[in-house]
Symmetry: C2
Subunit: 191 residues, 2 copies
């Protein structure tokens, strides 16, 4: 059986113990029967400016994504109400390539509920669509984040696993990640 | 000369006057010599559940993106520190298809500066890389958002225009959008 290469996208790269957490995810991915592909797998060339370094990392991560057969994205909210924007870019990238896409979040609240809580429940529905106090509309589609992410995954037969980690374990709890690995393995390896 | 179809991605779809703003962007896009492709160009089929509606819109927007030759993304921060996550997905989607990508933001501050300001300047650099008080690292690459977005654009020869709109015009100021249209037209239509 050919081993499938899984690109592991998520904001854990920003953790102080990023290497440790990435290594743990890599081990779990192997245990599930996949070959992990992770940011940091390739070295970053020497660059002069910070901008050049950013461009180099972007090119490397795109190369790693193209080398992968599928993606598992960590959509746990990062620095605010929504998923890490780099992870969202990567999920879109892999969806465009029609590679199987899966995701998980460690926040049990959906997109609507997080925005609702952020505005202390001040969501106005008088206009027919729910709106925050600044009059911007709120998506309410039973989805974990913007519909492009959740829709891109489910419309390709992928699954979004919703976990429920403790507040201080949002970036390090592997429960939902293990569940999505098991589902992906059942769907793609053992079917 | 073949007319290029430009997908217009951005969080203005959430505005109370979304239709008006989208129509204004569509007109400016035509004036610049492009054919605009915009969310809302295709009707949404009747669905039973909210989830089904979200999935249908996602599929339609992906279809519109595939029909487009290029993308101009509005990366102005939305509901927090970063760009709209749906816009980031769409930018990744078009980059994977190797279509020319351009972007603009109406916030003059780069990614690092916005996070710096959000934490009232409490960025610790003792570990060698800048970190917020929760010990998460901060990208500092002279880029407007996560490096995947800015890098994906510039590595394909695209340009990110940084505007400086008034706080109450962040979602409606067209100055940077007009500039990026002019640059894209010069690069792709008049070269």
């Amino acid at each position: 059986m050919k081993q499938l290469r899984v690109y592991l996208a998520g904001p854990e790269v920003f953790l102080p113990n990023a290497r440790e957490i990435l290594d743990a995810k890599i081990e779990l991915t192997k245990t599930a029967g996949f070959l992990p592909v992770s940011p940091g797998d390739l070295g970053i060339p020497e660059t002069v400016t910070r901008k050049e370094k950013g461009l180099a990392i972007s090119a490397i991560d795109e190369k790693l994504m193209r080398s992968a057969d599928m993606i598992i994205a960590n959509l746990t909210p990062f620095r605010g109400l929504s998923a890490d924007t780099g992870t969202c870019f990567e999920l879109g990238f892999m969806c465009a390539l029609e590679r199987p896409a899966f995701a998980y979040t460690n926040d049990a609240r959906d997109h609507y509920k997080r925005i609702h809580d952020h505005y202390d429940g001040n969501i106005c529905t008088e206009s027919g669509s729910p709106r925050t106090p600044d009059n911007m509309s709120v998506e309410d589609f039973d989805m974990v984040d913007n519909l492009m992410m959740h829709g891109g995954i489910e419309n390709r037969g992928g699954v979004v696993v919703v976990g429920n980690a403790a507040p201080d374990q949002m970036m390090t709890d592997f429960t939902a990640f293990k569940q999505v690995l098991e589902i992906a393995a059942n769907n793609l390896l053992h079917s």
